[in-house]
């Protein structure tokens, strides 16, 4: 299991914007059929890290490898062509467009010839509905429905199914559960598990420890641009992870500080 080559690997990656260092010495690996959870508070550098993986930024130092070979993405498109897909919170879906049109935005199937190629609505709808249903969202059965009528979880699922259909091997999920209710989040977590079962390497960004623990195989906690902890499933408890995310500071000492502040400035 551990001898397999990682699909995507970052070695000693640094990223600075001018004089500001954002990422220091990042080492990460993600394998096929594995979920890597990236945890970290706001401003810890999570989004810079995933943007570097997705080709939006280029590492200042260090290297990235795919299937063991060094790669450098100059544009997001290059990363996409190598099979790295990013799904943002609500990104990739257009509320006032149908499910079929959403699924194929930018890569529309056509029929006809020459300049008279027309959008093949029937094929688009069929494929979109089939792919989403394969991910367990059976409530979607009509490709002409507008995406705006779907729940947040279903929209996420549609975006993930789309990425998988178009050949993603590494799926970067940027806070997919952040704005969702409990039931909807469970929905998305099931989809994450399904993607993992299909052999995708999933990078799951979140600051909700519960969601991470539900699907993660491998965890990395990011603090101020560096990896503060790197551990596998079952090696740390929920409290330990939460403490780590709070910047290594113990939550208990934080609470004490707040209490002291309240006593100094009591409410009128």
């Amino acid at each position: 299991m551990s001898e397999r080559k990682p699909v995507l690997e970052m070695r000693n990656v640094d990223k600075s914007f001018g004089p500001i260092d954002v990422l220091h010495d990042i080492n990460l690996k993600v394998h096929e059929g594995e979920v890597l959870c990236l945890l970290g508070d706001n401003g810890a550098g999570k989004s810079t890290l995933i943007k570097t993986m997705a080709g939006v930024h280029q590492p200042t130092r260090g290297e990235m490898k795919m299937d063991g070979k060094a790669v450098r993405f100059n544009r997001p498109k290059e990363a996409q062509e190598m099979g790295i897909a990013t799904v943002h919170q609500f990104g990739g879906t257009y509320p006032l467009m149908s499910i079929g049109r959403n699924f194929f935005a930018g890569v529309e199937p056509t029929k006809g010839w020459g300049p008279f190629k027309i959008f093949d609505r029937k094929t688009a709808n069929e494929i979109a509905v089939r792919e989403v249903q394969n991910f367990g969202i059976t409530r979607i059965d009509d490709g002409d429905r507008l995406v705006g009528g779907l729940s947040g979880g279903e929209r996420q699922s549609l975006a993930i199914a789309r990425a998988v259909y178009f050949g993603a091997r590494v799926l970067i999920l940027d806070e997919p559960t952040a704005a969702l209710g409990v039931k909807q989040a469970a929905h998305v977590l099931r989809i994450v598990n399904e993607a993992k079962r299909r052999g995708l390497a999933v990078i799951f960004i979140t600051h909700q420890v519960m969601h991470a623990m539900a699907v993660g195989d491998h965890f990395a906690v990011l603090i101020r641009g560096a990896i503060a902890a790197d551990f596998r499933r079952g090696e740390k408890s929920r409290e330990e992870i939460a403490d780590l995310m709070a910047g290594g500071e113990n939550m208990a000492s934080l609470e004490a500080a707040i209490d002291a502040d309240v006593q100094e400035h009591p409410a009128e």
Partner: protein
């Protein structure tokens, strides 16, 4: 879920019709038309009535189509108001003042539109300035240039040009002495734009752009090229109207054309296109244009105060915006159940 499929299919077909964005526009048109048919009497229902509102509809309609596409993609184009006189002047200057062949004049006029559209598109896609502001700026620049060159080269603010019979019959003839040939051009443009928006894959890109520009770019849609292309289309169509006006009235003026700015936007919005982008249809835009034209001309046939026409147009516009919003939420809710 297990209810008899027949009644469900019928219900959903009716529901689907009610949810179509054009339904509101169709209702609006029917009400307005019936109103003026009653007041305007047989003259309005005869050829004089039909030709007068169709002539108006064709002119503003040719511009409303690309303006509508731009609005669906999330952009405004105010500069059409200056492209109409600028292209008129260019055509009249080249063919009238310098006596070059009609084809050169037409090509010159149309390229004014394409160039201004290109500048609009580049400015909007390269900067983060809203297209409303960019195209207002471009409009004033083009107006100034038109006036400046007219005075410099001709020493007057109007140029006359008498086109040859063939050019006149293609671009400026009144069929039966009443129906302007541009009505046929309008139908042609409608077919082209219908294909582009609803049938071709390009149409999907326009909707995606208006829905979420960032996601559209991530999905590999060449967003800047689409935006530039759409602005060039609106420049071209505005220029086409300008050229056709020279052929019809045999004169070009530096002033005029301002009315097209608000009129084209009103046609589009009455036609059910969302001001915020992401939704709309060609059929809606055509219905909106017809509604606008019927009100615009109907008041004369009904012997009403022209100010009443403005009130009706204003009320229609507000009603359209409210109902567009209502239809949108209805659509989303109905889909969600």
């Amino acid at each position: 879920m297990t209810s008899p499929s027949k009644s469900r299919a019928k219900g959903s077909a009716l529901g689907a019709l009610a949810r179509r964005p054009e339904t509101g526009s169709l209702l609006g048109f029917a009400v307005v038309f019936a109103f003026f048919a009653m007041l305007g009497g047989p003259v309005f229902m005869g050829a004089p009535g039909w030709s007068s509102w169709l002539n108006i509809a064709a002119e503003v309609g040719i511009i409303a189509l690309p303006v509508g596409l731009l609005m669906i993609s999330g952009e405004f184009d105010i500069s059409v108001g200056s492209i109409v006189p600028a292209s008129s002047m260019m055509t009249a200057m080249l063919s009238g003042h310098y006596e070059l062949p009609a084809l050169v004049g037409i090509a010159g006029g149309l390229s004014v539109g394409l160039i201004v559209g290109y500048v609009n598109g580049v400015l909007v896609s390269r900067t983060s300035i809203p297209s409303l502001i960019v195209t207002i700026g471009v409009m004033f620049s083009v107006m100034g240039l038109t006036l400046g060159f007219a005075v410099l080269l001709k020493g007057s603010t109007s140029v006359s040009y008498v086109p040859d019979a063939l050019t006149k019959s293609l671009l400026g003839q009144f069929i039966n002495g009443m129906f302007n040939v541009s009505i046929l051009w309008w139908l042609g443009f409608v077919a082209v734009f219908f294909f582009a928006l609803h049938l071709s894959p390009f149409g999907n890109w326009i909707f995606a752009l208006g829905g979420d520009r960032q996601s559209a770019r991530n999905a590999g849609i060449p967003t800047s090229r689409v935006t530039i292309g759409l602005f060039m289309a609106s420049g071209f169509c505005a220029a086409f109207v300008g050229v056709a006006q020279v052929m019809t009235y045999q004169q070009a003026n530096v002033a005029g054309g301002q009315a097209f700015i608000f009129n084209s936007i009103m046609c589009v919005v009455i036609g059910g296109v969302l001001l915020t982008g992401g939704a709309g249809s060609i059929i809606g835009i055509v219905l909106g244009t017809m509604t606008f034209a019927v009100v615009n001309q109907g008041i004369f046939f009904a012997a009403m105060d022209p100010n009443v026409g403005s009130i009706i147009i204003g009320a229609l516009l507000l009603a359209a915006v409210i109902s567009n919003d209502g239809f949108r939420s209805l659509t989303l809710r109905a889909a969600a159940k």
